[in-house]
Amino acid sequence: MTHSDLSIDLGFCRLKNPVIAASGTFGYGTEFSRFFDLNRLGGFVVKGLYSTPRPGNPPPRLVETASGLINAIGLQGIGVKRFCQEILPQLQDLDTAVIINVCGSHEEEYAAVAEHLDGFEGIAAYELNVSCPNVSTGGSCPALDPEATHRIVSLVKKSCRRPLITKLSPNTGKIIEVAKSAEEAGSDAISLVNTFLAMAIDAKTRRPKLANVLGGLSGPAIKPIALRMVYQVAQEIRIPVIGMGGITTSEDVLEYMIAGASAVEVGTANFVDPEAIPLIIDELDVYCQTHNIERLASLTGTLAPL
């Protein structure tokens, strides 16, 4: 069987296929090597890293809702230094794009994390997490505001040597403005969307179902809204768009690409089926062959008139 060309050129980085595992849903990557060869992935984004370890939020941290999952993990993690010592060496020989999700509780911390990572090899790009809703009360984050996003992106861009993907939040009415300001500040790509600020209540006890009260909604429930945002943003910027939100099948991937995404990230589906991404990649290959598509990348931004 001949294979179709699934590869994607993001300009700063070439991917084997458009499917990237999303940050926060793929651990540090090693959790999934028990299930499949990580080299099959277009790439993966490791769980967000701060300069120091973070304890995370108290439980309950998860609640399932209709076709969705609300999480308030609180970016628990080992910090960038331990990551570089203990985990990164296990990832450096992989033949797939290893992307690091870079976090900060203030602007300088983002730059400090990126600078530390700059000292190590085997990393394709940084994804700037300016959009996690779970780490401060009320769900605020820099990606709600074009100016705050601009400041962080330009600061990190100046101080680090690797391509930057800025990950946007859907919890703003100004997503196009935020995307444009990230582009102006030098971001090499945009990824969207992070989770939707959400909550769930136990009506019997009148208590919130999450200890953090608020969390981020992901999963198939958010796909139509996320797809709309990818479509709107992709029409307004020139840098590549990486689309995500509720992808579970190859058809979802195709929808995002047609809407304007050059590549996609798959998140919550990894929890449901640790082999979700290799299955999606196989389906994409079959799709291209059945429909005589030589290069999958040619689908990007090809929404046809009704």
Binding site: G27, P55, P59, R61, V63, A66, G68, I73, V272
Partner: protein
């Protein structure tokens, strides 16, 4: 020290997905169910205290798999024992013999079976549906020459559907109900304390509600009996990727949120930090 089998599973090398595990038989008592699932490889690698993540439907609602501890293993099949408490378990309870289930397992770190002494004795304490892993455990302990006494508590007699199964297998069984409808009237932990005087144990193994486990951690200290407690949690993935199922634990002298799915679900009692009430 943990056994060689456990050492392997700590690193998860044996975990796998079986998308086509066939339901061989089904048993039901009120809200409680047993499903026997044919899955030769997962069965052969299972250790008591480990669990499965089971996909209960084909669609996106419910979205996540549900965790179930391994209740029993026999030949090529393993059993799960569960109570219908929500949408996921209700859907699962509707499955019939011959249906196939998508399962992941065996997951997590199970019970440490090594007990010192020439004729070691273990007290196995199950609260309600928490009895689930203790059958597999009692059968494995028997193979190691450990004599197991079962303490099985519930709110009412309806919560003790497995009492005949343990009796038929020949285990000494002590039951309690909060309403006095069967056995000792009161909490199983009080029943245990009463019985420990005549029937001392070298190890406590338990699974059940947090209140019961917390009391057993105190009993473990008071009576100087090491205890291994299996925690229950809402889980996102079951294999360490989502960080959703944490509990406060003491590990390497540090206290923090640790993953129940990967570091547990079974922990030595002294590792578990209980929240103040």
């Amino acid at each position: 020290m943990y056994s060689a089998i456990l050492f392997r599973t700590i690193f998860g090398k044996t975990m796998r997905k079986d998308p086509q595990a066939r339901i061989l038989h089904k048993q039901n008592w009120g809200d409680y169910f047993i499903l026997a699932l044919e899955s030769p490889r997962i069965t052969s690698e299972a250790h008591p205290g480990q669990f499965l993540m089971v996909r209960v439907g084909e669609t996106s609602f419910p979205l996540l798999r549900r965790p179930f501890s391994i209740h029993a293993v026999q030949d090529n099949a393993l059993e799960i024992f569960f109570q219908t408490t929500g949408l996921g378990t209700r859907q699962l309870s509707l499955k019939q013999e011959g249906d196939r289930l998508d399962i992941l397992g065996p997951l997590g770190r199970g019970f440490n079976l090594d007990i010192e002494g020439s004729t070691p004795k273990a007290a196995l304490v199950g609260g309600g549906r928490g009895i689930a892993p203790l059958y597999f455990l009692s059968e494995s302990l028997r193979l190691q020459g450990v004599s197991a006494t079962i303490y099985y508590g519930g709110r009412t007699v309806e919560d003790l559907p497995l009492r005949k199964k343990f009796l038929a297998a020949g285990y000494p069984l002590h039951c309690s109900t909060e309403d006095g409808s069967y056995g000792f009237k009161g909490l199983i932990t009080d029943h245990l304390i009463q019985d420990l005087k005549q029937n001392p144990a070298d190890r406590i193994y338990a699974c059940g509600p947090d209140g019961m486990l917390k009391r057993l951690a105190e009993i473990s200290q008071e009576y100087s009996i090491p205890a291994e407690l299996s925690l229950e949690a809402i889980m996102g993935c079951g294999f360490g990727a989502c960080w959703g199922c944490v509990h406060r634990l003491k590990k390497d002298q540090e206290i923090g949120w640790q993953k129940i799915c990967e570091d547990g679900p079974v922990f030595p009692a002294e590792m578990i930090i209980w929240e103040k009430e």
